[in-house]
Symmetry: C2
DNA sequence: AGCTTTACTGACCAAAAGGTCAATTACTAA
DNA sequence: TTAGTAATTGACCTTTTGGTCAGTAAAGCT
């Protein structure tokens, strides 16, 4: 498919090892934070000599940045291609639902971002400025257009987005608290539906929309 | 007032120093997390010899626990003495408003808790089990009673509480993100009102309540 | 096969971490 | 006063940290 003619054994093993390392690092950083996770822990977890990690990633900072970069590369902010002509209820319902599923099924990435932002987002500043901010601006415009067309209540679109983000991510970032309060050991199959149901009820109704009919999927 | 007859110079200076240390520790832990803040940083910030901190608090863990304990001691979960006879709209409106004010005006404590929960709440487990969980149980009962009496929509009361917590705390814990996205340097005077307005509109209307008339205060 | 170059890593290092302790300095009570 | 006790802390210790580097192994190329 690509121009790659010879698989090049060197590159193959390097990429395999780098993936091993990045996986281990992602897990440890999200579990223990930047300072809590050490290079030797990552090395042990990835079953790779510590010097090898430094060889690939130059420094702990470099490794951390690579972990974040990889997450961002696969990051989908959702709400792609929304336009004024779309139905706000359907769009927002699906957005919330997908964020809840993400929060429950892969909380690690959300937590890594959370601990990064808690520290003042030293490595994400640039990302927020160049990616998130324009993305938000665009969605805000669509939301505003919907409001102007009286398709939904007039609320500050920024705070509406923050409300959606906070309510959904909460189940990933604060999982420990949620489970302790609800006296559960882990989320079960019914929780995703229950959470989605509650959040969408409150938010959609809260901005004057009706929960759309469930489509099959 | 108290039985304290002689002020006892020793105790006085000890408490003064401990306060100095706890203040510094609270700031540093909330800024850098448990692993990110070191004993020598705390010592420098509190302008006290490091050995003195160890003398008072036995270990870094001990200091951290004391910081958390002090916060908890002054912690007010709010919603005290709510009963079924209260007006849900007024109660919830005031609760949300007070949480927003707290988030904007003193985000440090919220962030300390957040980073603690992110790590799986090693030091808060007990607190959640013995304090938060019963507190929640009680509020959940009141909410349920309101729902049963058709005073508000029937939604899962646990998730309603999580929604309130998440939306309000977001402005403390993720301040860096909020400010970056909104392209601000810091919250200004109008933000508290704006945030409260947006959140209460969405949540109260979302559970079938009307925003109560503003009382003077 | 042999030569070059890149990939790798064990051994090592300085700095910083949390923590101990013996010596010194306050206080207190008689 | 002064003896006794508790408070304080400078010096020191061990472990771990992120990071370097010289030497070895492994491809790649002709």
């Amino acid at each position: 498919m690509t121009t790659q003619i010879k698989p090049n054994k060197k590159e193959v093993t390097r990429e395999k090892n780098q993936k091993l390392i990045l996986d281990a690092a992602e897990q440890l950083f999200s579990q223990l934070g930047y300072d809590g996770a050490s290079m030797s822990m990552v090395a042990k977890e990835a079953q790779v000599p510590k010097a090898n990690i430094l060889y690939y990633f130059k420094s702990k900072d470099g490794l951390y940045e690579s972990v974040i970069d990889r997450i961002i590369a696969n990051w989908n902010l959702g709400l792609d291609n929304v336009t004024i002509n779309d139905d706000p209820a359907t769009v927002l319902y699906n957005y919330i639902k997908s964020k809840v599923i993400l929060a429950v099924e892969q909380p690690m990435q959300s937590r890594l971002f959370a601990s990064e932002i808690l520290r003042g987002a030293p490595y994400l500043q640039n990302y927020f400025r160049t990616n998130t901010r324009p993305w938000v601006k665009q969605k805000v415009d669509v939301l505003q257009a919907w409001m102007d067309a009286d398709k939904m209540d007039k609320v500050d679109p920024y705070h509406l987005l923050f409300t959606i983000w906070s309510t959904t991510q909460y189940y990933a970032d604060f999982q420990a608290e949620v489970l302790l309060v609800m006296n559960k050991l882990e989320y079960d199959e019914t929780d995703v539906a229950q959470i989605t149901q509650s959040i969408t009820h409150i938010i959609l109704k809260g901005i004057g929309l009706k929960i759309p009919e469930q489509s099959e999927n």
